[in-house]
Amino acid sequence: MGPADLRSVIGRAVAAGGTCPMCPTDGGPAEAGRTSGRGPAASEAGRVALVGAPNVGKSTLFHRLTGRYVTVSNYPRTSVEVTHGEGEIGGRPLRVVDTPGLYSLSATSQEEEVARRLVCGDGVDVLVHVIEARCLRRSLPLTLELLELGRPLVVVLNMMDELGPIGLEVDAGRLAGRLGVDVVPLVAVTGEGLTGLGAVLERTLRAGGRGGPTLGTAAETHGRIAAADTPPEPAEAYRRAVARREAADRLLEGVVRSDGRRRSRAADRLGRWLARPFPGIPVLLAVLWLGLYEFVGHFGAGTLVDWIEGTVFLGQLNPFLERLFAGIPWPWARSLWVGDYGLLTLGLRYAIAIILPIVGTFFLFFSVLEDSGYLPRLALLVDRPFKRLGLNGRAVIPIVLGLACDTMATMVTRTLDTRRERILATVLLALAIPCSAQLGVILAILSGQPLALGLWAGVLLASFLLIGVVGNAILPGRSASFHMELPPLRLPRAANVARKTLSRLHWYMLEVIPLFLLASVLLWAGEVTGLLGRVLGALGPAVGALGLPARTASVFLLGFFRRDYGAAGLYELQRAGALDTVSLTVAAVTLTLFVPCIAQFLMMWKERGPKLAASVFAFASVFAFGVGFVLNAALRGAGL
C-alpha cells in the first residue's frame, strides 16, 4: 500500500489544520491561541505537554524537568490525575503537563480522553512525545498522529540504555531527518541527555511555537493520515492504526538496526519464571507475606504505630495540647479540639500516628514492587481466578492495596477499565478485605486460638468469593479482557523509590486528612448533641442478637470511624474478659465484614457516587450481622 492509497483509505485529512474537533474547549490551531494577545512570548511561560504510552518514563522526565516528582508507575495508567509542574529553561519559565498514558488519539477510555484534550487543547506550546526506545516501532504511529495535529513536536527516545543489551541501535539523527522534528535520545532515570532536551525545548519555544514542522514534511512524504477528527468506529480506528503502522515501518527503514542475535538476560529469564504458576505463585505468596505481613503489618502497624501513637502523641503531644486548650472556657468548644473525638487529639492523631506509618511503609513496599516491574506479573498470575469474580488481573492492584488501606484502594479502583469492574472491586474492598491496621489487631486478638483464627479467615475468604461470584452474576455486562505490558524486571533505584513513596504519601495525606477531620467533627457533633449515645443504644439489640454484650455496640460504631479502632476496642473487651471464644470469633468476623470505615465510605461516595456508597453501607450492615448471627447460632448449636 503506497502513500496515495493511505490517503484514500483514511483520506479525511485534517482540513482544519490541526484542530481537534474532539475537544470542545479547543478554539482552533495552536497558533491562533498564541496570537490572541497573551503578551510577548519571551516573558510567558513555555507550556510543554509530555505525551506517550503508559510506562515510558513520562513522570520521571516530568520530575527531571520540573524538580517535582509525581508517581511513576509500572502499572499502566496509574498516573490518572493530570499533573502540572513548573521549571525553567534558558531563563524562561516552563510549565509542564504530565498527561495520562495513551496509545493513540482515537482511544476512548476516560483517562485517554483527558490526555487527548490536553494534547489537542490550546494550553500547550510544545508537545513532547516520550517513547521507550526499545518500542520505537510500536510508538511511532502515535508520533505520526501527533504530527498531524500540526503543532510543534519534540520526540524523546527514553531508556536508550536498554538498547545495547538487546542488540538494538537507533539512528536518532536519521529519524529526526525523516520526521522533520527534533529527536532527543536520553535516559530519564539517570538524567543522561537531559541538557540536549533542554536546548531543544528552548529553541523550539523561542521559535514562538511556530517553528515546529507540521504536516508539510514528514506526513506528506510518508503518507498523511488523518488525525482523530471524529471518534472513529473500532473498525475504522483499527484501519487507521494499520495504515499508520505501515507508514511508521517505512519511516524506520535503516533507522533501527538489530544485530539479529537473540539475547536472554538473567533479568528476562527471572521475569519469565515469575510469570509461571511455579515458581511464580510461591514467590507471590512469599512476597506478600514478607511485604505485607512482616514489613507493613509488624513493622509499620506495630512498631512504628506504637512509637508514634504511644510515645509521641499520648505521651507528649496530647497532654501538651490539652494544657494549651485548657484556656477555652466552654467544654463543648474545647472538646472539638482536644476531647475524646477532638480534631487534634483524635482526627490528627489518627492521620499521623496510625495512617501515616502504615500507609508509608506500604507505599515504600509498593514502590519497590512497582519499580522492579513485578506488579504486571502478579496481575498475570491472578488473572484466571479473578475472572471468576468478574474482575481481571488488573484488579489485583487495588485488592492488594486494600490489605494496606481500603480507602486508598478504593481510590485506586479508578484505574480499572470498566465501570462494572470498578463497582465490583469497590464492593469487595468494602466488605471482605480487612485493612492492615484491622488485620494487625485481629490477628493479635485471635492468635492464641488457631481454630478461631482459621474460622475467621475461612468465613472471610468465603465471603470474598461469594460476593465476587454473585456480583459477577447479577451485574450486567461481562468481565473485561486482560492485557498488560510486561516491562523488563529492573533493579529499583533507591532515590526513585524514596521520591515516589514520599510523593504518594503527600497526595494521599492531602486526600485523607480532610476526611479524618470531617469524621472527627461528625463524631464530636454526635457526642455534643447526644446523638451518639442514641445510635449506640439503637445498635444494642442488634449486637445482642449475635450473643454479644451490649458494650460491643461502641466497638462497631468505632469500627465505622476507623476499622482498626473498632478492633482495638474488641481487644480491650477481650482483655477485660467480657467475651468468650465464640463471641470473640463472631465479633471479629462481624467487625471485619461490617461497613467500611468513614474515610472509605466518603471515598466510595466521591469515586462511585452516593447511591453506591449508601447501598454498600446498607448491604454490608445486613450482610455482616447476618453472617455473625448465623455463625453464632451455628457455633452455639454445635455446643462450643
Binding site: A53, P234, Y238, V242, A379, L380, G393, S481
Partner: protein
Amino acid sequence: MSRRPPTPAGKDRGAELECGLCGLSFHEDRGQPACAACPLARACRYVRCPRCGFENPVTPGWMEPAAWEPWSARLRAAWDRVRGRLARSEAPAPPAVGDLSELPPGGEATVVGLSDPSGVDARALAGLGLLPGAEVEVVQRYPAWILRVDHAEIAVDGELARQVRVRMR
C-alpha cells in the same frame, strides 16, 4: 540359572545349560537321552542333568535375547513413531493461517489482522502493537499468554489471543 551366552544364530533348539543343582554345564541335547524311555519325553519341558539327574527346565525360545532382537527393533521403531506423533500432537503442524492461541510456546508468527476488527478489543490490541505485519513470538501460554512484540513483552488473556489472526512461521 544364570545367564548364558546367546544361542548361535540358525540353531533353533538346544542350548548350553547349567544345571541348577550341581552346576554342570552341558548341552541340551546331551540331557535328552537320560529319559528317552519316558513316554512324556516329547512333551517334557525338562532336561535331566547328565551328572546329577536334576531336572532342569528348558529355556523357552522366546526368552532368548536373539529371539527378542527383531522385536526390540520393531518396538523401538513403533515407539519412535508414537513419540513422533505425540510430539506432533503437542505441536501440531501449524496451519498456514490461524489465531495466536494456536501457537505453541516458542512459536513465531506474523500478524495478519483481527478476527473482528470492529470488536470492543480492537483498540486495545492495536495499542499493544498487534497490527498486521507485526512479528510475534509466543513466550508462554499459561496462566496467560505472554507475547513478544517489537522487543517488548505483553500479556494477554486467551480471549484476546484468539482474536488475533496470524500467519504461522
